[in-house]
């Protein structure tokens, strides 16, 4: 057991749970407060919140692990798409979806297309976000087992249940405010680690040469073009199709705040990927990648090698923070999908707000247990698992959402066909032997063709729906 690291981690988690309890009363006062923090978050907090929700364990451990295992261009392809996540979502959907005045992604589908699309989308959100818990739990298990000296499985179970308790208590209020701390710890921690690495190697070019001396393929493109392109597309669209990122957009005070938050998040992403580049180079120069049981452990090896225990503790807390904020936002999306979009909307319309938030809590615990079961034996590298989730969501939601906002001819039948067809194609592609993380390069166009084709072959939406689409674009202030 690493005593210093474990103590710092313990203190950190206690502070975060304390904040969760502090905000619990406020969060449970209304549904709006619980799901979207009452829409009162400012730009500064919003930047870190958006960033921390999207910059999951994958952005840190996963990107570094994949950069060492598959060559640094793989990490840079990841960043190439990921840095644009907040911007691309803002350009394409943010203003319009805010004007729709809805709280969750399935709720938007209901106002635009009707109940059938809402139910299908809520089911897909729940499935994707539950699967998305697997890489988060894998990463937390790796950190936990290293720091606490316990076995990986026990670490996954303890930390997974800890996250659930914290997210369930406070809803979006707690998550958003702790994200400010988590985002800051993550960026500052990576910055300090980068400075130590560069000083240790005597400069940037020496660092790169050291990495190349140990692994001559470190600077090479080792995978097919499709894998890099697939990774780029999956992450570029992540902010558009990820319910956890979309829910962040609703938490901002107004449109101006939402835009400035997205800019802040983009800047934070650039810094994290620059630091990630240095950390991966240091990881390659250590020459331990082949000996690790799980190559996503490389980030922890770098921290351990270069940092003194006290800083390593802070850094590991930062990593765990990244995982915690993403996992919590996902749990909230799963809970919202079932409690808000299915139960309240279709099963018990008279349900009190308290009943809905309590049901959300039960759903979070169940989703977390399912995630834990799968994370005990993770199927792939973290970066690849995140790429799959993003690709699946793009295949299901990308075109029904964007066309729903921009094309008034898109109708219910088209959206249903696009959503179901895209998802089924993605699953078939995932079962076939194909280049890594490129399934959605086939399934997303299939979804687009089905959404457009079926919409054109069936009746136009009502005049009021078409007017509604125009109204998404009328008032720039909204």
């Amino acid at each position: 057991m690493q005593i210093m690291e474990a103590t710092i981690l313990g203190i950190y988690l206690l502070i975060m749970i304390g904040i969760g309890i502090w905000f619990a009363k406020r969060a449970h006062s209304s549904e709006g407060d619980y799901w979207t923090a009452g829409g009162k978050i400012n730009s500064f907090v919003g930047s870190f919140a958006f960033f921390a929700a999207v910059a999951s364990s994958s952005s840190l451990m996963g990107a570094v692990g994949s950069g060492v295992a598959l060559g640094i261009p793989f990490l840079l392809a990841y960043g190439f798409g990921a840095v644009a996540i907040p911007s691309f979502a803002m350009f394409l959907i943010s203003g319009q979806i805010r004007r729709a005045g809805v709280k969750t992604l399935p709720e938007f589908f209901k106002t635009r297309y009707g109940k059938s699309v809402q139910i299908v989308s809520a089911i897909i959100v729940v499935l994707c976000m539950t699967f998305y818990m697997i890489p988060q739990l894998t990463a937390s298990g790796l950190i936990g087992s290293y720091v606490l000296g316990i076995d990986y499985v026990t670490a996954v179970i303890i930390l997974g249940l800890g996250f659930t308790l914290y997210a369930a208590l406070g809803g979006m209020w707690a998550i958003t405010y702790t994200d400010l701390i988590q985002g800051a710890v993550m960026v500052i921690g990576m910055f300090i680690l980068t400075i130590i690495i560069v000083m240790d190697h005597g400069g940037v070019s020496t660092l790169i040469q050291d990495a190349l001396a140990v692994d001559p393929q470190f600077g090479d493109v080792t995978q097919p073009w499709m894998s890099y392109f697939g990774l780029f597309v999956a992450f570029l669209w992540f902010g558009v199709v990820s319910p956890s990122a979309v829910m962040r957009n609703f938490a901002a005070r107004d449109a101006k705040t939402a835009r400035r938050s997205a800019l802040g998040a983009c800047f934070l992403y650039v810094t994290v990927f620059i630091f990630g580049f240095f950390i991966a180079s240091a990881g390659a120069s250590l020459g331990v990648a082949e000996s690790l049981e799980n190559q996503d452990m490389i980030f922890i090896s770098v921290i351990e090698h270069y940092m003194p225990p006290i800083l390593a503790g802070v850094m590991l807390a930062g990593l765990l923070a990244a995982i915690m904020s993403s996992a919590d936002a996902m749990l909230l999306a799963v809970a919202a999908g079932i409690a808000h979009d299915i139960y309240k909307e279709h099963i018990n319309k008279e349900a009190s707000e308290k009943t809905v938030t309590r049901l959300g809590l039960v759903v979070m615990i169940l989703a977390s247990i399912v995630g834990i079961i799968f994370a005990i034996n993770p199927p792939q590298l973290i970066a690849v698992m995140v790429g799959w989730v993003s690709g699946a969501m793009l295949s299901a939601f990308g075109f029904p959402l964007v066309l729903g906002l921009w094309w008034k001819r898109a109708n219910t039948a088209g959206a249903l066909a696009g959503m179901v067809g895209g998802t089924v194609t993605f699953i078939i592609m995932a079962l076939l032997p194909f280049a890594l993380v490129s399934e959605h390069l086939v399934s997303a166009p299939v979804s687009a063709i089905l959404t457009i084709g079926v919409s054109l072959m069936t009746a136009s939406p009502s005049q009021s729906t078409q007017l509604q689409v125009d109204q998404y674009h009328t008032n720039i202030q909204a």
Binding site: I72, F232, R259, I274, H473
Partner: protein
Amino acid sequence: MEKLTKKKWKDPGIIMVILLSTIALMFWIWWPTDTYIGGISLVGWAMFACFFIWLALTIIYVIWMEKIEKHEAE
């Protein structure tokens, strides 16, 4: 309604999406795997450079939108 339909295609967001997609497309067609700088493929360096281009596009968009809002308020 016709006027509204036309207006939405002048949205700064759509212009930025087109710019971002064009830059990305040029890169994916170019794909210079065999040129190396400092031991790392030019593919990697080009993607690294794009981090800053994406940030610049975002800054331009935010300023642009705030100018439009100010203009409309006046």
